[in-house]
């Protein structure tokens, strides 16, 4: 289990992380989402020891993480980087050995991963001569070549073509099924929603929501009030028809539909009866917000989120 416990970090006067806390269980794929500058990269860098935290602790298997344990992590930084003038194979072997593999293990792993990621025939070429897509594949191989027990990947899907996205997803799932805690950040929320067991949403350096996507949905965002959103299509209804219905806290019009927010524990059938009273009702649905919408609600609208 990888635990990030109360980690804080400042850059001068800028507060980058404030009491960041979450954990990733073995065999769990954890998606880390948040706006640019929310603190995802800083968190990952602190996990890897590339940055020092001002406060808080990172634990792996219950013990504070140290240099030896960090070697067991596979890391893909947001800013991709390899030695441009070093051949692919040589580079992967070097990185594997830096992580503690023997020369023979490094060679075998290099062959295995370059084959798996489809860059085996490029093994003798300098990295700078590869196409961007192939450089990305080599970058992933660099994160995996020492057979890590934990994966920490910063934006692993950015810049990948659809085929590579599938390969990457498959590899993440596979490491996860092998019992590794896997955490990755991404702006591709549909992908996160589809792939991840759990999701954490970060804002201003703190974790504002985490859990399974359906859990997050059930709370309809993250304000914790249990309010639900209902979309009603009643073409004959006059504007503001829902405002007087008991339990309605807000309503707005989206295209020709009315989006109504109901307080927790309010019977939605009251609302349906009120809608039917205005005329025909073509649609009456609970909105199950996608991760994108959850994300917007949590992060995008700061004024609302701050008030909640």
């Amino acid at each position: 289990m990888l635990e990030i416990d109360g980690v804080s970090k400042r850059y001068g006067s800028i507060r980058a992380l404030q009491d960041m806390t979450f954990s990733v269980r073995p065999g769990e794929l954890f998606g880390f989402v948040g706006a640019n500058g929310a603190g995802k990269t800083t968190t990952m860098r602190i996990v890897l020891g590339v940055l020092d935290a001002d406060a808080g602790e990172v634990r792996l298997e219950g013990r504070p993480i140290d240099a030896a344990r960090r070697r067991r992590i596979g890391y893909m930084p947001e800013e991709r980087g390899l030695y441009p003038k070093m051949a692919v194979g040589e580079q992967l072997r070097y990185l594997a050995e830096l992580h503690g593999c023997s020369a023979a293990e490094a060679r075998a792993a290099t062959e295995r991963w370059t084959a798996r990621l489809g860059v085996a025939e490029r093994i003798g070429e300098e990295v700078q001569k590869l196409s961007l897509g192939n450089q990305q594949r080599v970058q992933l191989a660099a994160a995996l070549v020492h057979e890590p027990d934990v994966l920490v990947l910063d934006e692993p899907f950015s810049g990948l073509d659809p085929v590579a996205v599938d390969v990457m997803s498959g590899v993440l799932r596979e490491r996860c099924d092998a019992g590794a805690p896997v955490v990755f950040s991404s702006h591709q929320l549909e992908l996160v929603e589809r792939l991840c067991d759990r999701v954490g949403i970060v804002r201003d350096g703190a974790m504002v929501a985490q859990g399974r996507v359906d859990e997050l949905r059930a709370t309809n965002g993250t304000d914790g009030t249990g309010a639900t959103t209902v979309v009603v299509h009643a073409p004959a209804a006059p504007p503001g028809w829902a405002d007087a219905v008991p339990g309605v806290t807000a309503s707005r019009t989206e295209h020709d539909r009315t989006v109504v927010t109901l307080a927790a524990d309010v019977d939605d059938q009251t609302l349906l009866r009120a809608a039917l009273a205005t005329g025909p009702v073509h649609e009456f649905t609970h909105r199950r917000p996608s991760l994108t919408e959850l994300f917007r609600e949590t992060v995008g609208d700061r004024a609302d989120a701050g008030a909640a």
Binding site: R45, G49, V50, R71, E79, G81, Y83, L95, L98, A142
Partner: protein, 389 residues
């Protein structure tokens, strides 16, 4: 430790396999060979001018023999008759004559300032033999003995170390090699640091190794490349010097080589760390030069001033003082030691001062490097790099 060695190996192989290493070695070799030939030609050229010889009255009989010997050997000898031996010595002291002959024409005393050049020496020696042959001795055996005994006795006013020229050459050569190696490989350390920063690979590497390990591995790796080149150059340099006849036993060659290598190691550790720390402040290769310039100037001044003083005024106070100032010590002290005559306390003081200074630079440079190497974008200011946590 394995980590550091892995990094060292990568740095070493990446450079030694590179074209730059082969090209720079070849270029330096050319300069070296040119330099040796130049020095050699200066040494040979000293004998080609006119030799002025003062001759005292009692030695006057040698004068025709001197002219004959000079003609035979294609030398121009001007003979100046003087009133007595003392007058001859005065001419030599004043620099108006190269040698003053006095005493018996067959075994003349030859007064010179520092040494009798080989050409002039040969002329005088042959002349004494001529004089001995012309003595009409009845007994052939006695005549042979007289000829065999005929020989000038050279007395130098200020006897010269026969290896002095070579010592200066060695000192200058050592200073040049140190300057070149420190400049070249120190700058390579900085370039390597910036390359890792600009390609962002440093973040992957630092996720598994500590900054000091990366820095140490880099300095060791490039230091080893520099050392390899130094050994190649010294070896070839000695070979060239040997064939050019510049080697004289007793010039302390072995000692000089050892001291150049030891000072290289200290000097390289010192400057490579400074260069690495400076390199870590910038993120783009284009900015490297500007951030290195102040230190390059310190190295260049130390080398240029030191080199000139070694050649022109090896005993000067200025050189002594410079050789005791730590950043310059590794550039100048080995040259002074090659010249000889450096008091032991100065060598010890230079060594201790430089080691202490290097230790300080390592601590500070390592700190700057660790703080700056992950900061990309704008140049990191010194204040940020040094500020305590």
């Amino acid at each position: 430790m394995r980590t550091v060695l892995l990094i060292t190996r990568r740095e070493f192989l990446a450079r030694v396999r590179g074209r730059a290493f082969i090209v720079s070695t070849a270029v330096i070799l050319l300069i070296l060979v040119g330099y040796s030939i130049f020095i050699g030609s200066i040494g040979a050229g000293g004998d080609s001018g006119t030799t002025t010889i003062a001759v005292a009255p009692e030695t006057e009989a040698i004068t025709p023999a001197l002219r004959t010997a000079a003609d035979d050997q294609g030398r121009i000898v001007r003979v100046v008759p003087v009133a007595d031996a003392a007058a001859g010595r005065a001419l030599v002291a004043a620099g108006d004559a190269d040698a003053a002959l006095s005493g018996s024409p067959t075994r003349p005393r030859v007064d010179v300032e520092t040494s009798l050049g080989s050409a002039a020496g040969s002329v005088v020696t042959v002349a004494t033999t001529f004089v001995a042959q012309q003595q009409l001795l009845p007994d052939p055996a006695a005549a042979d003995a007289a000829v065999a005994a005929a020989q000038p006795v050279v007395v130098a006013a200020r006897p010269d170390d026969p290896a002095r020229g070579l010592r200066i050459g060695l000192g200058a050569f050592g200073a040049f090699l140190l300057f070149f190696s420190i400049q070249t490989y120190g700058a390579m350390v900085a370039q390597g640091v910036v390359e890792e920063k600009s390609s962002r690979v440093v973040e992957i590497v630092l996720a598994t190794v500590r900054p000091w390990q990366l820095l140490l591995g880099k300095v060791l790796g490039l230091g080893a490349v520099g050392l390899l080149q130094l050994v190649i150059l010294s070896g070839v340099g000695l070979g060239v010097a040997g064939t050019a006849g510049l080697l004289v036993a007793g010039a302390g060659l072995a000692g000089t080589l050892v001291s150049v290598l030891v000072w290289y190691l200290i000097g390289f550790a010192l400057y490579a760390t400074v260069y690495a720390a400076l390199g870590s402040l910038v993120s783009r290769q284009e900015d490297t030069q500007s951030v290195l310039t102040p230190v390059s100037i310190v190295v260049l001044v130390g080398f240029a001033v030191g080199f000139n003083l070694v050649v022109s005024a090896p005993q000067s106070t200025a050189l002594t003082v410079m050789s005791l100032i730590p950043p310059w010590t590794p550039l100048i002290m080995p040259a002074r030691m090659a010249l000889g005559g450096v008091p032991v306390w100065q060598v010890v003081a230079a060594f201790v001062l430089t080691l202490a200074f290097t230790a300080g630079v390592l601590a500070l440079g390592g700190r700057v490097y660790a703080r700056s190497v992950l900061r990309t974008g704008a140049r990191v200011s010194w204040r940020e790099a040094l500020r305590g946590r």
